[in-house]
């Protein structure tokens, strides 16, 4: 279970907070399925519900390799006021978030998003590359984007004592993401790109707190996006549900 918020600010755009609640279920060791409820609040404007999405992730290979591919498929039913900015594709721009909520929410987006996620572990560094393709099912062409990231625990070996604030519980990293145009116009021009240092704090009880500040690199990017997220893993959820009905 993971509530998340992204706060965006840049010139000419009202500061906004996009939020989403993520419910993820590990159906199999190789398959996870997620459901998201999304909304946003914009200063000098309003607070609106913006839709839902559902996704599946499939780990393709049974064993660890240098590159471990995961196939990702998502269906989203959201409106134009959505400001969760979970990914950037095509020519996504900060101007998309300048439209008033009342007007933006009139646009309905039913989209399918696919990703090839390649993950590698190298000397305690986790490196991940995402190739993103998104298509509005009603109109338009395929839009593409990318996300890359690397992270590492601040301490590799665990200490003997139980601890919350020790370095082994922290991961630090760097992410970069952005759009790469469309099927007919693959380009980096007029697209938005970000670079974001990230920190994750893993509590011994299965709760993780994440924060990242993304800095816009192009004129189409927001100046800054600050992301917060808390996730809590409920172990053996299926067994707990069975016990409720006994």
């Amino acid at each position: 279970v993971s509530p998340n918020v992204v706060v965006g600010s840049s010139k000419g755009v009202n500061t906004f907070a996009g939020s989403w609640l993520e419910l993820e279920y590990g159906a199999k060791a190789w398959w996870t399925t997620e459901f998201y409820l999304e909304g946003q609040s914009t200063s000098h404007d309003s607070t609106v519900f913006t839709g839902f999405r559902t996704e599946h992730r499939f780990r393709v290979l049974a064993q660890e390799h240098r590159l471990n591919p995961v196939l990702y498929i998502e269906f989203e039913d959201i409106n134009g006021a959505n400001k969760t900015l979970k990914e950037f594709v095509g020519f996504d721009s900060k101007d998309d978030q300048a439209v008033l909520n009342a007007e933006a929410r009139q646009e309905r987006k039913r989209e399918i998003e696919t990703k090839l996620i390649l993950s590698s572990d190298f000397k305690a560094w986790n490196v991940s590359e995402n190739l993103i393709a998104e298509k509005n099912l009603q109109q338009g062409t395929w839009e593409f984007g990318y996300a890359v990231g690397l992270s590492r625990p601040l301490r590799l070996a665990a200490t003997a004592k139980a601890c919350v604030l020790c370095r082994e519980n922290f991961n630090a990293g760097l992410e970069a993401y952005g759009g790469t145009g469309t099927w007919h116009d693959l380009t980096l021009h007029d697209t938005s790109h970000y670079i974001a240092p990230t920190v994750a704090w893993n509590f011994p009880n299965g709760t993780t707190f994440k924060i990242s500040t993304a800095f816009g690199l192009t004129n189409n990017s927001h100046q800054r996006l600050v992301r917060f997220g808390i996730s809590h893993e409920i172990s053996r959820f299926d067994r707990r549900v069975k016990e409720w009905f006994r």
């Binding site: 190789w30 064993q63 196939l71 590799l156 070996a157 004592k161």
Partner: protein, 127 residues
Amino acid sequence: MKPAVKAFLFTVLTSWTIVSGSASQCDSLTLLRQAPTKAQAQKNVYKGNGEALLAGKKLFLRHCAECHGEDSKGTEDAPSLQSAAIRSAPPGALVWFLKNGNLRRGMPSWSRLPEQQLWQIVTHLQQ
């Protein structure tokens, strides 16, 4: 059939075929014996290290006990780890197995943990 439905079915079937095919019907002990020679030959530098033993127990309780039980004697979801096969297995093979998991049988991959922590868990399991 709509393209979106086709894409979804294709993804599910392809993933299932690859995962089930490459994992075959191997049980965990068979997989352990199939660990690469290089992995099997690795020595546990934490062997006999009291600090690592305690750290391994802490990590076991955090990541493994939910399925294998706090006493590692197993539950209805996962087998006991208090067996001669585990205690006598090459420690490098156990680390290799933790990294890979046995996805077909529900054992996840723990490659996201640093290798040092995997060795600490193995130190605890083989005490």
